[in-house]
Amino acid sequence: MIEVQSLHKQYGSINAVNGVNFEVNRGEILGFLGPNGAGKSTTMKMITGFVRPTSGSVLIDGLNVQDHPVSVKERIGYMPENGPIYGEMTVEEFLIFIAEIRGFDEVTEREDKIDRVCDLCRLNSVRHQTIETLSKGYKQRVGFAQAVLHDPPILVLDEPTDGLDPNQKKEVRKIIKAMAKNKAIILSTHILEEVTALCTRVIIIAKGQVIADESPDSLMKRNKQYNAIKMGVEDVDLEVVRQSLKELPEVSSAEINEGAVEVYPKNKQSIEALVLKVCRDNEWQISHFEKTPVGLDDVFWELTA
């Protein structure tokens, strides 16, 4: 379990992180969102013990990172941004080095661990290749492999899918999801679709402060378009349709836009069945009917712009 309490980090006169609080439990995948320079990476660096907080604390399974740096780091798997790795080593040499530092002194145990992560991250074909000669996708996978080598209960991933092609992104997400059951995972990303695909919870951070901490679904509900319906009808005056729908107690507003009626529900509730019933009762011929697609983009924009 990760507990972040009143975390502050000041660089000169700049408050990079300004009173961040949150918790992450096992089984949770926390998406860490925010514009560039919002304090995401700094917060992650403080969680992993690389950067010392100006004030506040981070507890990992009840242990303070500042007081027990080594014990805490044993429990964390960290993949830094842009995957800095010793490029002159081969993938295998690098993973042996990580395994040795992680205390796997016995050769067979070490080899088992390395075999497992090479299978998991599909690194077997490049195992004996020098890291600096690998493509960005493979380098990211090596970075990911070193983070999960010791099967840590806590995973901190700073933009794990950055620079990967769509197939690789899908693969890495699948791996993360498969490991999530018994781990507390924090991942930062710029890709909002990743959050909806992966995360059980989202934190949006801006100017060093947490401005939203909720599930992707409830964050989505902040979108004005959530559960809104766009429909067209044949041979009926759209104004008549709009008026009828607007009078429904579950509807907050209805507008005519580009030859269609847009209906917005009250309290973001689902109104499809209700609207369809009204159409049927009035014997309107529906030409098209769609739920307005919503993403986190608009919510993110509203919160952070």
């Binding site: 992993t48 013990g49 690389f50 080594v70 780091k73 800095p84 010793y86 530092i101």
Partner: protein
């Protein structure tokens, strides 16, 4: 302290994973021998000893060890790998010692590879083997101090050139303080002051080793200078 080993191994083999190590070793051996034979006029001295060779070493180390040491931390900072290293379960001191010991071992390999000079004096005459042995011992100890200073300057920056320049300046200063030309220049000061200055010099403490003496205070000087520099490295990296 167990974690020093993997860091040491990675760093030591790391030298040989690039051609830089081989270039360094070859140039170091050529320069060491070249200066001994040509600038030091080894044959003209008509003495079967390595005095000339040892007297050149502080000057050679000033540049060569600064070149080896400049990448110790500056390269890790530039490439960001120090973030990876210090989020692994090791203490900063273990990382600093591991990298330092690897660099020291690498330089020691270079020093040991000058062994043909030993055979040369053995072949040409009947040298006193004691000062040769203690000279090599002192040389390795002194190299450690040079490198520890470089470790500190390298931790200050992510730019290897800056690290090199600062370490050359500091190391050159510590060589100058014991150089007779420099101490003569300070003759306007009371002799006790000049002695005090020259006590901070590599050359002052290395001289006894080249004469066949292992003096406790000289060993303490090199070890304490190394220790202090490494401690400063830890403080800079923990900041």
């Amino acid at each position: 302290m167990k974690q020093i080993i993997p860091v040491l191994k990675r760093e030591f083999y790391g030298y040989f994973r690039s051609p830089v190590a081989y270039v360094f070793l070859v140039v170091f051996l050529v320069v060491s021998s070249g200066l001994t034979f040509y600038l030091g006029r080894f044959f003209d001295s008509r003495v079967a000893s390595l005095d000339v060779f040892f007297s050149m070493q502080p000057w050679i180390y000033t540049f060569f060890i600064s070149a080896v040491g400049m990448r110790l931390w500056a390269e890790e900072k530039r490439s960001g790998t120090w973030e990876l290293l210090f989020t692994l379960p090791i203490r900063v001191l273990e990382g600093v010692l591991g990298k330092f010991l690897a660099g020291w071992a690498f330089i020691s390999v270079g020093i040991v590879l000058t062994f043909p000079l030993i055979f040369t004096v053995g072949y040409l005459g009947d040298p006193d083997w004691g000062p040769i042995f203690t000279g090599y011992l002192g040389s390795i100890l002194m190299a450690g101090s040079f490198l520890a200073v470089c470790s500190f300057t390298s931790a200050l920056t992510k730019n290897q050139v800056i690290s090199f320049v600062i370490s050359v300046v500091i190391n050159l200063g510590l060589v100058f303080l014991g150089w007779s030309v420099f101490t003569n220049f300070l003759s306007f000061l009371p002799p006790s002051w000049v002695d005090a200055f020259s006590n901070f010099s590599y050359t002052t403490h290395f001289n006894a080793f080249t004469r066949g003496l292992i003096v406790f205070k000289d060993i303490v000087f090199f070890l304490s200078l190394s220790f202090a520099s490494l401690l400063l490295t830890v403080l800079v990296l923990e900041r």
